[in-house]
């Protein structure tokens, strides 16, 4: 049965079971929140969403109070505003005055509310927590408990969305604090480093460690894309600053995954900027004109990909033999037929075009085989398929689907 109520003198009808917060939200009336998130259950912990309800004692939390027939609600009564201000002041009495250097400055729900309600920095002599900053050695999630407002969103995120239930509160009163497992390190508590808790943290208590100091929300451009690791097809936003990916953030409207991501999707992007990336086409000397190689190398247009460089760029070599710095650079005189030369695109493309054309004319399409890629796009794979079948005249194209 639909429920009829009045919020701020506006007559509203909502389905049975809706909370005051939902009723207001559905009708364009904003009620501030901190511990509430539409994806999570409501706990009414922070008291920011309080409203006045006629004939009810005190103020009520809009996120947990169901709308009832004939209810008359005021979301901005003097009592309500006073309560919110008091809540914010209380939060600030145990919060570092660190907005200038805080990672989430400009992207902080507490900061926005303090601004909206004109709350001043409280001068008081009470106790402030002095928790160690970044006490957990995991490589992905930064913790600053001094900034934690005990809203419990991370706890509910891990329990209700991620279904891992790593986070909880320990102790009571002023000693209450967020802990992983039985106050363990996160990984020991069974954390799988998905970073969902960071995505739902309204303040700077949890943050992506890889993104510290790399750029705040307003300094980065967000580009919506699809993850390049597994076949689930999660969407997220690449945060880009000065041509570098500085962070991956969840996108609420991602069709497959919503806010959920895994450790690779959220924290596995930095290979893109790795110094090992190949940046120039390379051809072995034996496929080039020896004189031209000597001349271009001499003039600096082309460079040799030395043995040492080659080893440094190879993962297995680095792991088995250190960083490869002990390998003496190849003196120029030691150019062999197998030495790689960093050429220009024109040269490299022509080497391949000539070789392929010659082989095709002499031996036909059966002399070719192409490995397409499950890492490449649909459009790219279509082009690989056309190149193989039209240009090379063979159906020998396959990829790692079986591997």
């Amino acid at each position: 049965m639909p429920i009829h109520l009045t919020i701020n003198d506006k007559a509203i009808t909502v389905p049975e079971g809706a909370t005051i917060l939902e009723a207001a939200g559905a009708n364009g009336i904003h009620i501030p929140t901190l511990c509430h998130h539409p994806d999570l259950t409501n706990v009414g912990a922070c008291r920011m969403c309080v409203v006045s309800v006629e004939r009810a004692r005190g103020v009520q939390t809009a996120c947990t109070t169901p709308a009832t027939e004939g209810m008359v609600v005021n979301t901005m009564s003097p009592a309500v505003v006073e309560t919110r201000k008091f809540v914010l002041e209380m939060l600030l009495t145990d919060h570092p005055n660190d907005c200038m250097t805080c990672e989430v400055n400009g992207d902080c729900e507490l900061q926005d509310l303090v601004y909206d309600y004109g709350v001043k920095w409280p001068e008081h002599n009470g106790r402030r927590h002095q928790y160690e900053i970044d006490p957990d050695p995991n490589p992905f999630i930064f913790i600053d408990r001094n900034k934690c407002i005990l809203c419990g969103r991370c706890i509910r995120t891990c329990d209700e969305i991620q279904n891992r239930s790593i986070w909880s509160f320990a102790n009571r009163g002023f000693e209450s604090k967020l802990v992983a497992g039985a106050d363990q390190l996160m990984l020991d508590a069974g954390c799988e480093s998905c970073g969902q808790c960071v995505a739902y943290c309204p303040v700077g208590a949890l943050f992506d460690k890889m993104s510290l100091g790399k750029g705040r929300a307003n300094q980065a451009e967000k580009v919506r894309t699809t993850c390049g690791y597994c076949g689930v097809g999660c969407n997220f936003d690449l945060n880009v600053r000065d041509g570098e990916i500085v962070r991956v953030t969840s996108a609420h409207d991602a069709p497959v995954n919503g806010m959920a991501l895994c450790v690779k999707g959220r924290y596995g992007y930095d290979y893109v900027n790795h110094p090992d990336r190949l940046t120039r086409p390379m051809v072995r000397v034996k496929w080039l004109d020896a004189e031209k190689v000597a001349e271009r190398v001499e003039s600096g247009q082309w460079t040799l990909f030395s043995e040492a460089e080659q080893r440094r760029a190879s993962l297995s070599y680095r792991r088995t033999s250190g960083d490869g710095k002990s390998v003496a650079p190849n003196p120029q005189s030691q150019i062999s037929a197998d030495t790689f030369v960093k050429t220009d695109w024109d040269t490299a493309l022509n080497v391949v075009a000539h070789k392929f054309t010659q082989v095709k004319k002499e031996l036909g399409g059966e002399a070719f085989a192409l490995f397409a890629s499950a890492k490449c796009t649909n459009e790219e794979n279509f082009i690989f398929n056309k190149f193989t079948r039209q240009m090379l005249a063979t159906h020998s194209i396959d990829h790692c689907a079986r591997l």
């Binding site: 969305i161 480093s193 998905c194 451009e221 894309t225 699809t226 076949g231 689930v232 097809g233 690449l238 880009v240 041509g243 497959v256 895994c262 924290y267 596995g268 930095d270 290979y271 893109v272 900027n273 090992d276 990336r277 190949l278 940046t279 120039r280 086409p281 080659q310 190879s314 993962l315 792991r319 088995t320 790689f340 075009a353 392929f356 399409g365 002399a367 085989a369 490995f371 397409a372 890629s373 499950a374 490449c376 649909n378 459009e379 790219e380 279509f382 082009i383 056309k386 190149f387 193989t388 079948r389 039209q390 240009m391 090379l392 005249a393 063979t394 159906h395 194209i397 396959d398 079986r402």
Partner: protein, 541 residues
């Protein structure tokens, strides 16, 4: 997948995972399955030889011996038929071959099944009951089903079970392979296979060939091409002279790496298009630096056949280029050299593409299942599931709702066939392979991702305490694992995730990759190697 991730995780009453380490390899689906179990009480049954993470959440863990999936599935069907729990209406209206299936399954009594699989009779009985009492149920599998010499038969057995229970063509049901790579589905869909053109149009079909001959303006060969494993063999034999390898690393991901190395060394000319100087790069003649996923525009197709946009966020480093740019350049040069002479009248014979939208248009024109996946719809934010036969078609999240691709669903009774190589006196342990959550395949990407590498920096071999004790191996000891094909050194991780007699390792680390050990024996039809079972011996290094 025949179904979508959403309908399975939101509506399935029983999720049966077989041969998928879901929480490590498809973590977000794993997250959602945990949610289905915890928040709405869906039943969760996991069949896997290892005590993988998702088993912690399962109602029932069937710990069968690697390579006995058919027997296990037949055993489940035996009980379902014995109890009369099959969906007779579905079987009558939608399927054929039921009598044959019945005849085969008859033999797999719980006792016989238990003897083959090592799963207790009571657990097999309970699993069958759970599946029967909780419908619709979804079956989820991955490489644990396919990477066997019986890969195709394993998949058919999965389909048999789901048809028997009437779990096909409805929300919360289906046979659902989780595709590994981000775009392995798309690479298959768009022609990256030797037997089919884009959209699974067979190269052996004269009408299909004629269509592509007209579109591209050149004659088309009428026989299927080589698969990856066959390509390497042909290169070794001197039949294939030129290998063009794009974004793949056969020197870690293919079976029997010592043999792969030999094949690559013998190949006359190898062109590699890559992000990094991979293990395969040392065998290349020409290397083209390519763009990463963040540096280009296009689409990926996910495991549930959903086509989604990839957007360019940054420029490729240095002179690295998009794969399509490289191929356009190459094709134009080869045309000029007379490598091919497409009919100038052919609508798609040339290589003049303005941008990715021109490619999309050609895909729409030539690929019926992608005909309606236009760039305009993608740009407007649609994330369609193929088949999308026309621009106004809403897409197809669930397959086979009214009929199967061939009309009626065909039951094909399959018998248990043991793996190609089983432990013996000389190689007394069984090796199974897979991945861990922190790494990706050959690891060219994840080993260069700081945090991921810090989490899992070296190769580990899971070994049961009993087997470790026998070989005098302690946790963290360097151990040598040898098969008939090669050997690797890696650190021991003593754990009861594996049972006695079984060890597990990954192929993430090139120098100690499991694929030095694996058996290149192939499924005769799918040509997939038997990565999940081979015989090995271990000793302290």
């Amino acid at each position: 997948m025949t179904n979508s991730i959403a309908d399975i995780t939101e509506e399935s009453q029983c999720i049966f995972i077989i041969g998928s380490n879901t929480t490590e390899n498809h973590p977000v689906i794993g997250t959602k399955i945990r949610g289905a179990k915890r928040h709405r009480g869906a039943k969760l049954i996991v069949a896997d030889p290892r005590r993988i993470d998702i088993t912690d959440y399962a109602d029932l863990h069937l710990r069968h011996t690697p390579g006995t999936d058919i027997a296990l599935l037949n055993g489940l069907m035996h009980i379902i038929l014995r109890q009369g729990w099959q969906d007779d209406e579905f079987i009558t209206n939608r399927t054929e071959g039921f009598a044959e299936l019945k005849a085969v399954v008859e033999k797999y009594t719980p006792e016989v099944t238990s003897a083959i699989t090592g799963v207790p009779v009571a657990d097999i009985e309970l699993a069958a009951r759970m599946m029967a009492e909780n419908r619709p149920g979804a079956l989820i599998y991955a490489m644990g089903i396919t990477q066997h010499t019986t890969g195709v038969a394993n998949v058919m057995s999965c389909a048999n079970l789901q048809m028997l229970l009437g779990n096909m063509g409805k929300r919360g049901g289906g046979v659902n392979p989780l595709r590994g790579q981000n775009n392995v589905q798309g690479a298959c869909d768009l022609g990256g296979l030797p037997n089919v053109y884009p959209g699974y149009q067979k190269v052996t079909d004269a009408k299909v060939r004629e269509k592509f001959e007209k579109a591209w303006g050149v004659p088309q060969p009428d026989s299927v091409g080589l698969t990856v494993t066959e390509m390497l063999k042909a290169a070794e034999e001197g039949k294939v002279h030129c290998l063009y390898i794009i974004g793949e690393n056969p020197m870690t991901s293919d079976p029997d790496l010592n043999h792969v190395r030999f094949s690559l060394q013998k190949t006359e000319f190898i062109v590699l298009q890559e992000l990094f100087f991979s293990e395969t790069a040392q065998f290349a003649d020409v290397i083209f630096p390519a763009a990463s996923f963040a540096e280009k525009e296009g689409t990926f197709t996910n495991t549930e056949r959903r086509i989604q946009r990839l957007r360019k966020a940054i420029d490729p480093p240095g002179e690295a280029k998009e794969d399509t740019w490289i191929m356009f350049q190459l094709a134009k040069r080869m045309l000029a050299l007379g490598a091919a002479t497409p009919d100038p009248e052919a609508p798609y014979g040339d290589w003049e593409y303005r941008d990715v939208t021109d490619i999309e248009e050609e895909i729409n024109a030539l690929t019926p299942i992608y005909a309606g996946v236009t760039w305009e719809r993608l740009e407007a934010g649609e994330a369609l599931h193929w088949p999308v036969p026309s621009p106004d078609h809403p897409g197809t999240p669930i397959l086979h709702t009214r009929q199967f691709s061939r009309g009626k669903g065909l039951f094909v009774g399959m018998d248990h066939v043991p793996p190609a190589e089983l432990p013996d006196e000389e190689y007394p342990l069984m090796l199974t392979t897979g991945r861990v959550i922190y790494h990706w395949h050959g690891g060219e990407m994840t080993h260069r991702a700081r945090g991921l590498e810090a989490m899992y920096p070296e190769a580990l071999v899971e070994i049961h305490p009993k087997d470790a004790r026998k070989a005098h191996i302690s946790d963290g000891d360097l151990m040598k694992v040898a098969s008939r094909r090669g050997e690797i050194l890696a650190k021991a991780q003593i754990t009861d995730r594996v049972e006695p007699g079984l060890i597990f390792t990954t192929f993430h680390f090139a120098e100690s990759a499991a694929n030095f050990l694996t058996n290149p024996a192939l499924d005769p039809q799918a040509k997939i190697p038997e990565y999940k079972v081979c015989a090995v011996k271990v000793e302290k290094a």
